[in-house]
Structure formats: structure tokens, C-alpha cells
Amino acid sequence: MMAQTTLTPPLVHAPVAVLARRRRFTPARIGIYVFLFGAALFFLLPLYVMLVTSLKGMDEIRAGSILALPVEWTIEPWRQAWSQVCTGASCEGIRGGFWNSVAITVPSTILPILIGAINGYALSFWRPRGANLLFGVLLAGAFIPVQVMIYPLVRLLAGAGIFGSLPAIVLVHLVFGMPVMTLLFRNYYASLPQELFHAARIDGGGFWRIFLHVVLPLSVPIIVVAAIMQVTGVWNDYILGLVFAGRDNLPMTVQLNNVINTTTGTRLYNVNMAATILTALVPLALYFFSGRWFVRGIAAGAVKG
């Protein structure tokens, strides 16, 4: 079957003269930049307005355009937001909420990371029977709306005598943060070579020793990612803090909403915006300083299993 096949002449329509080289500034490329620039403006608009509003006096706000730069710059709204606004019963500013959020976020980050790491470690290296099924249900639970679980949890915590306290809110954050934390660590450990684990077992390591001496030291990258995700999630939480933290421990987000939406009398928009920025500051700063890790966390957490 080696018959010579004649070919049709190549269909080449390239003129000898110069074909237009792919220039950098084709209309399509300009269109791309225009779209991206426009989108960037849309995304930056609220940030700009927040900042600008928080630095104006109320007269300027009433009289002028929301987009105008302050004529007279003032940081008085910030001072007021931090130490003077009324957040419910007291009028001490939103700084109380800030420290509450800190007090909630720190343990609510450390504990879920620890448990998530142990879970991930047990799931990927030891693989006890039935653990994968349990993990599957845990993951499914992450999608269940919180409203389904909230009231029974209130009753449970009340029964244990800790409802409306710091331990309560930390426990709740642990319960709701466990799926994503476990997923992150389990996927990360699954990407580590199993031989490492086998070698450690041959060397005589038990469950906890291998975890502490071999696995945990290797976990620094994923711990960073998990911390970023958990800090952001806990700090930005509203509904859990509202229900479980108790009046003395209300996080900043809850207090912020109280300040802005339940104030009687004149609304001080500049103070409101200053308070909003203060509340959003921690996760935003974290994001701007850790960009790549943040994205890594999203990608890792979003690719469920």
C-alpha cells in the first residue's frame, strides 16, 4: 500500500508583499483595555467613595457630590467612629467592637486550624475506616444554610451554660469552619509523598509523634493560607456573632450595623463611612499584603475535594 499520493498544491494565499504584522494596538486590544479599565473603575468606586466621604465634614456631604474630593480634609469622623459613636447601649465608639473581634478571631483561627490539620492528617495518611464517609458528610454540611442549625445550637449552648459568651462563639466558629479547614489540609497532605509517612512509621513514630515532628513542620504554607482564609471569614462574620457572642462580645460587624442602621436622629454619613472602613480594615490589609496566598486559599477551598 505504498502508492504515491499526489498532493493538491498548498493553499497558500500569502502575497509576496508584507502582510500586516500583528500590531500591538489593534482595535480588539484597545477594546480589551477599555473594558478592563471601565471594570476597574466600577470596582474601585465604592472604596474611593468610602474614603472620600469619611474625610469630609457633614456640610460638604450635604451640599456636594458624593464623588467630589474633600475641600476641607478632616479626620474627625474617624475619631468619632473609633471612640464616640453609640453602639447600642454605650457610646464608646466602635473600638470596643474592634477588640471584641480580635478576641474572637484569634482563638477562632488557631483552634480550627489545629483541628483541621489533625483531621486532614488523619484522613490522608491514616485513613481509618469510615473516615471518608464522615468527611463527605462534613463537606456537605458546609453547604447547609446556617438557619437550619442555628436554633438547636442556641439551645445546646444554653444548656451547657455558655451561651452568649466568648467560648460559645469560638466553638461555633470551630464547628462552621471545620469543613473548609479540613479540606485545605487534607488536600495539601494528599499532595505530599506517602513515602515520607511510611518512612516515619518504620522509624517507629506513632500518630502524634509523626504529626508533630514530620507533618506539622511541612505544613507552613498551608497554615498561612488557612490562617488568611479563617481570619477573613471570622472577622467578616455577622450572623454567628450576632446570635452567639453575647452582648459583651459583639464583633465589629454587628456593632457597625447597629451604628449605621439603628441610629435615631441625624445620620452622620462621614462617621458611618469611617466606621465601615475601620471594620473592613483588617481583612483588606491582610488581602493587600498577602495577595497571592489569598488567591491560593480561594482556589484550594473552592476546588472541593
Partner: protein, 290 residues
């Protein structure tokens, strides 16, 4: 003895799943069949709470709002997120800056997002004021206080917040595509838009499915943004199921009704999870154990 340690270590997980997830769900389910009001009661009344629920005007409105919101939110996020990802993937300069700009809203809480957009869309002092000043003196954007249009303002605010996430995930998906496919398409003389539509998008199907699932669950959970932005108003015009349930649990002291609502909220989530989980497990089985 040694074999027990992994099980012991997984005790917190087991407790969480059994008590905090399954236990509470079952409790809520049970309560939805009772006549509980301020306190849980043991009086079983069958599906009466559910019939009451669907006779409740506010609940029906919240369902309608969620449907409208969900459709618009998911569509807008998918389209905008995809377009942003595609355009950024075109070797544009300043990609890092652009990505930072599109994604930072995701680092803000729903509350902060709602409050800022509430301010932006306040009729008169908001953006419409600036546009009016540009030469359209009668221009007023009062959706946020309009009964029929308030829900759309929530769409705007939450799309602003979440589109960047969709972009990040789509971009990761795009970057995972074999570069040689692009070369082969160039050689075949296929125009860029056609490559995206006929080759790339079908290849990105798993990413799109994941994104869809994430967006859908966040639609069902919509609460903070509504509370911050419109408080469900004007009146109850922008009510959503999650808020209905929370209000009836804690403010209006009708636990039975709220539980029925919560179970109903579960239905779409399970309806989404089941095919997704099935598709994943089937794919894992095809590939051998993942």
C-alpha cells in the same frame, strides 16, 4: 491500642458532624412538625407549619425575591467574572494590579458591602446626585426605596463583591489549559472568540460547575447584605428567606414556622448537592481512586 488513636483524633470531626450538623438538622426538622412558638413544644401538628408558611405573604415574597435575585446574581457573576478572566488572560500589562482591584471586594464583609452600596445608592446624596450635576438635573436613582426595585440594588452590591472571586477561579481554570491547544487552534486559523466558545468553555465545564455551586449556595444564604443594605425594606419589599427565618426565630418568636422555613431552604441546596456529588464520585470512580 495504636489503631484507636486516629479514631480518637477524629472525635471532634465526628461530634461536629453528628451533633452539630445532623443532630441540629433533625431537631429543626422535628420542630417544623410541631406547634412550637416561643419555646419548642412537643405537640405534633403534621405539616401545618408548612401550609402556614406557604400562606404567608411575606414568605412567598421572600421566595420570589430570592428567585429573581439568584438568577440575576449568578448570571451577572458568571458573565462578568468570565469576561474579566478572559480579558486579563490576554497578556495585558498590569495584570497583577488588575487582579488585586477586582478581587479586593471579596475581602470585605457582606455588612460593609451592603452599607457602602446603601450610601452610594441613596437617592439624592448618592451617585445619582453626581450624575444629575453633570447635566441631567432630573436624574434620580431611587431603586433602593422602591418596592419593586429594591432587590436589584442588592444584586448590584453582591455582584460587585463576588464577581472578582468568579474571575479568580475562572482565571485559574484558563491557566490550566494546555498551551499547545492554543497553538493548534492558531494553526487551524480559528478566530480567538471561537476558540473560547467552542473549545475553551467546554473544557472549563468542571470549573464552571464548581463556581455555579459556590454562587448558588451563597444565594441561598443571603442575609447579611440585606440586613445591612435595606433591612428587608422598604417594608418587606426586599425580604429573603434567610431573613424571614431569622426574624421568626428570634424576633417574632415562632420557632415552628421558622423551622419549616429553614427546612424549605434546605431543599434547593440538597437538589444542587446531590447531582454535583454524584457527578464527582462518578468521575473519581472512572479515573480510579482520586
Amino acid at each position: 491500642m495504636r489503631a484507636a488513636t486516629p479514631y480518637a483524633a477524629l472525635l471532634p470531626m465526628a461530634l461536629t458532624v453528628i451533633v452539630a450538623y445532623l443532630g441540629t438538622m433533625l431537631w429543626t426538622l422535628r420542630t417544623s412538625f410541631t406547634a412550637s412558638r416561643t419555646f419548642p413544644s412537643d405537640k405534633f401538628i403534621g405539616i401545618t407549619q408548612y401550609t402556614r408558611l406557604f400562606d404567608n405573604e411575606r414568605w412567598m415574597l421572600s421566595l420570589h425575591n430570592l428567585a429573581v435575585y439568584g438568577l440575576l446574581f449568578i448570571l451577572a457573576c458568571l458573565v462578568i467574572g468570565f469576561l474579566l478572566a478572559v480579558f486579563i488572560d490576554q497578556n495585558v500589562s498590569g495584570e497583577g494590579v488588575l487582579r488585586t482591584v477586582f478581587l479586593y471586594p471579596y475581602a470585605m464583609s457582606f455588612v460593609a458591602t451592603g452599607l457602602v452600596w446603601q450610601w452610594l445608592l441613596t437617592p439624592g446624596t448618592g451617585i445619582d446626585g453626581s450624575i444629575a450635576a453633570l447635566g441631567f438635573p432630573d436624574f434620580v436613582f431611587d431603586w433602593i426605596v422602591d418596592q419593586d426595585l429594591a432587590i436589584y440594588t442588592i444584586v448590584i452590591a453582591t455582584v460587585w463583591q463576588s464577581a472578582g472571586l468568579v474571575m479568580a477561579l475562572m482565571l485559574a481554570g484558563l491557566r490550566g489549559i494546555d498551551a499547545d491547544i492554543w497553538k493548534a487552534a492558531r494553526l487551524d486559523g480559528i478566530p480567538a472568540w471561537r476558540v473560547y466558545v467552542s473549545i475553551i468553555l467546554p473544557m472549563l465545564w468542571p470549573t464552571v460547575a464548581t463556581v455555579f455551586l459556590l454562587l448558588a449556595t451563597s444565594v441561598v444564604k443571603l442575609y447579611d447584605a440585606v440586613v445591612a443594605m435595606t433591612q428587608g425594606g422598604p417594608g418587606t419589599a426586599s425580604e429573603v428567606p434567610a431573613k424571614f427565618i431569622m426574624d421568626h426565630l428570634f424576633l417574632r418568636s415562632n420557632i415552628g414556622l421558622a423551622s419549616a422555613g429553614a427546612i424549605m431552604l434546605l431543599v434547593p441546596v440538597l437538589a444542587l448537592l446531590a447531582p454535583y456529588a454524584y457527578a464527582r464520585s462518578r468521575r473519581n470512580r472512572e479515573r480510579g481512586h482520586a
